[in-house]
């Protein structure tokens, strides 16, 4: 089917909506995360059960993307199409499926776990009173079948594109995006409208719209969720962007590690071509636009836009100096706009509902919402989309349900390896681009890693630096050698070899790297060190002055011993991988410190808390 005009789109959408559907919908979360947790088995059981009970007309089974409830995967959601009532099941097993289907929509099935709080699924694109989340980016993710363009169309899909092509000039589009105050969701927060404006101002000719889907921030997976759950939203936005800046080609640069996202994107592109949302003379407007997919190959630095462009060109993903900016000289030396997935996912909603509406969410300087990937030592791991300006406490405690196992909150890292850690004293700070920067962190792509009392902050800083070290392209001196030296110094500290001078040198070097590295990756690499030094200097000092790791995490600085609580059960002896535990049955055991590799298995294994870390 080809949609020849906006009017036809409207008609088609209405037609789709009026199609008879079964009264109840069963959404099965088939994102990477869900599949890894075993959703495929659950889905198989559902399908078998539906066939067995001949429920085809009563129940519509829909495979959707990530619902954001990662902590409870596999998840199922049952929705009553008429009343809107829903039941969300978590940790579903194939065995529970018959019971769930029997229970229906009114009462949860016995012996199952339901997600009671209205954690998920607030009203579309708005945060109602008392609701913590608002879904713009994730408006369709986990709700619609990502492999069906019809479902997308039914839910206002491509309506924004139709509006743009029929009622707006390219400059109007840029004006709306500028007025909305939308800022790049991938890292720096550069105003999207301004980026588009620069590219639009370049002389007409070949231009490119690029989507950065090379999400590589460890612990951030919102882009994957959108690509797997709502691929058309990205395609629609890129086409709108193409119209605005005068580009004819869109390129999605995606991680090769995201096979499911690639599959769904390819499928979506094929559908969009078939319906005429991509290709020549889109909806009769005379505007031509096409999108192709390019693959990354495992290089975090390719998230930097110049490096990304080089990678698309088949080169080593090394960043180059700006200016020239990609908007002037980008892919194949042509003007190019690079935005990330989450940024694009906001575009269609802004066009449909207007800049003013967008600004009702979020803060003055950072309008709209932000998706955070909540992970680490938080009870409920998952994706949360919240209006900017929400506090960390709300996100971690109200949405994330606090710290796992009742431990003490220590810090949260935002901005991934480029960001910094935030301590309890800033838990009530409303967060947006500026406030995070002011406290030495950054928004980044939205990873939010919660740390508890067991985490050594020096070790955490070392972990992030190791990441940057691995991912540094090696082009400029401060990043190539400087980060290596920083890492070595942190290693000295965690090994108990550091001195006060080491800490001073760390500070000097951090300042220079920030000031001189070529690209964002290098410039922000010292952030985790600087922010832990600022907030947890006492931990650094404990390492260098007392050779002590306060969190009991640095293995070189701890020892495992067996206390008199030991009953001589022999479990630890049995489990020890290096056989360094000895002792007669029913007698107190001993650890040979010289042979111990400090793997901690005995500590975790002991049921009597007899193994102690000192």
């Amino acid at each position: 089917m080809k949609i020849e005009s906006p009017a036809q789109l409207k008609k088609t959408a209405e037609e789709f909506r009026s199609r008879p559907t079964p009264p109840v919908k069963l959404l099965v979360s088939m994102g990477t995360c869900g599949i890894a947790a075993g959703t495929a088995n659950v889905l198989k059981a559902v399908r078998e059960e539906v066939t067995k009970r001949r429920l085809e007309n009563a129940l519509e089974v829909v495979e959707v993307g990530c619902m954001g409830l990662c902590y409870a995967e596999p998840t199922l959601m049952m929705v009553d199409q008429t009343t809107g009532r829903r039941l969300i099941y978590g940790d579903v097993t194939a065995q529970q499926v018959p019971a769930i289907l029997s229970a229906g929509i009114t009462e949860p099935a016995p012996g199952t776990r339901t997600i009671e709080r209205n954690w998920y699924y607030p009203e579309f694109e708005s945060a109602g009173p008392g609701e913590l989340q608002a879904r713009i980016v994730l408006r369709n993710t986990g709700r619609l079948n990502p492999e069906s363009i019809d479902e997308y169309i039914m839910n206002d899909g491509y309506a924004a594109l139709a509006k743009v092509l029929t009622t707006m000039k390219p400059q109007d589009v840029i004006d709306v995006i500028s007025a909305s105050g939308l800022r790049g969701r991938g890292g720096g927060g550069f105003p999207t409208g301004r980026k588009w404006q620069f590219a639009a101002q370049q002389p007409a000719g070949e231009k490119f719209i690029i989507c950065n889907a090379d999400e590589g921030d460890p612990g951030a997976f919102m882009d994957r969720a959108v690509l797997e759950g709502d691929p058309h939203a990205v395609l629609e936005a890129m086409t709108i962007g193409g119209y605005a800046i005068g580009a004819q080609t869109g390129v999605i640069y995606i991680r090769a590690e995201y096979p499911l996202a690639v599959k769904r994107l390819e499928n979506a592109i094929a559908q969009a071509r078939e319906y005429g949302f991509l290709g020549k003379n889109i909806m009769g407007s005379g505007f031509d636009f096409n999108i192709e997919i390019k693959f990354g190959a495992g290089a975090f630095v390719c998230g930097e836009e110049t490096a990304l462009i080089h990678s698309i060109e088949g080169k080593r993903g090394e960043p180059t100096v700006k200016p020239p900016f990609p908007a002037v000289e980008g892919l194949w030396k042509r003007p190019s706009v690079v935005n990330n997935v989450e940024t694009y996912a906001c575009i269609a909603a802004i066009i449909r509902k207007g800049a003013e509406w967008f600004r009702t969410l979020g803060t003055e300087g950072s309008p709209g919402t932000k998706v955070f990937a909540l992970a680490g030592k938080v009870s409920k791991v998952g994706l949360a989309e919240v209006p900017m300006g929400m506090t960390l406490r709300q996100i971690i405690y109200d949405i994330g349900d606090g710290i796992k196992f009742g431990k003490q909150f220590k810090a949260v890292q935002t901005g991934g390896p480029s960001g910094g850690c935030i301590t309890a004293k800033n838990l009530d700070l409303p967060i947006d681009y500026e406030s995070l920067k002011a406290i030495g962190s950054m928004m980044g792509s939205g990873g939010m890693i919660v740390m508890d009392e067991d985490d050594c902050m020096v070790n955490i800083a070392k972990f992030f630096l190791e990441f940057t070290l691995d991912e540094s392209c090696g082009k400029c001196t401060p990043c190539r050698i400087g980060n290596r030296r920083m890492y070595e110094m942190l290693e000295e500290i965690t090994d108990g070899r550091g001195t006060l001078e080491t800490i001073e040198k760390l500070k000097t070097l951090s300042a220079t790297i920030k000031d001189t590295a070529l690209c964002g990756l290098g410039q922000t690499a010292p952030n985790p060190v600087l922010s832990t030094l600022k907030n947890f200097e006492d931990e650094y000092l404990a390492h260098v002055k007392e050779s002590r790791c306060p969190a009991g995490s640095c293995s070189k600085l701890i020892r495992y011993v067996i206390s008199d609580k030991c009953v001589g059960c022999g479990l630890c002896l049995h489990r020890c991988p290096v056989n360094c535990i000895t002792g007669e049955r029913k007698m107190r055991h001993q650890i040979d410190a010289a042979k111990c590799i400090k793997c901690g298995v005995c500590y975790q294994t002991c049921k009597f808390h007899a193994v102690e870390k000192i």
């Binding site: 995360c33 921030d217 612990g219 390019k294 693959f295 990354g296 495992g298 088949g314």
Partner: protein, 176 residues
């Protein structure tokens, strides 16, 4: 195979299985029409390397030279790219590719202990393959399954909530 093959001077002597792979790679490249726009043909490099690695399991020198010749690049440029991206390897890897996720969520939940245990049991370092060619051990960045942290991938299968103790089970499962 096209006459542009540069990797060896006698394709006739190539084992049929290898020749089939080269032929397939050749067809894949031909379908991209790299000669239509020679200035931009290198834009196909990374996807071709993905395809080649899928076919051959890794990117041996002959394959690199073949791809270089087809895209009119120097072998050094192709090698420069391969060695830049962690996804590509020019060494054969084990039948079971064990990758421990070392993303942040997995890290704070003890991925390094899991990795250490694999190293100890397999007696190899990260990025190496056991002598019998059976196991490759690697670390990879966030696979996006943070809720199951720490996570280990063996080929395409994901193992969640890993502990050092479960390492032996996984290895045993592979051995069966």
């Amino acid at each position: 195979m096209s006459d542009q093959c540069c990797c060896c001077s006698d394709c006739g002597a190539m084992p049929p299985e290898l020749k089939r792979k080269f032929d397939e790679l050749d067809r894949y490249i031909a379908e991209l029409h790299p000669d239509d726009n020679p200035d931009r043909s290198r834009g196909f490099l990374i996807q071709i390397l993905h395809r080649a690695q899928g076919l051959f399991g890794y990117l041996p020198e002959d394959v690199q030279k073949f791809v270089a010749a087809r895209l009119k690049l120097s072998p050094a440029e192709v090698y420069g790219v391969i060695s830049f991206y962690s996804y590509f390897t020019d060494k054969p890897v084990g039948r079971y590719k064990i990758n421990v996720c070392t993303g942040t969520a997995c890290f704070v939940k003890g991925a390094s202990k899991v990795l250490d245990e694999f190293k100890r049991r397999l007696n190899i370092k990260e990025g190496e393959t056991t002598e019998d060619g059976k196991f490759f051990l690697g670390a990879l960045r966030c696979v996006g399954a943070c809720s199951l942290a720490p996570v280990v991938m063996v080929n395409d299968k994901v193992y969640g909530n890993m502990t050092a103790e479960k390492v032996a089970d996984i290895l045993k499962e592979c051995a069966e």
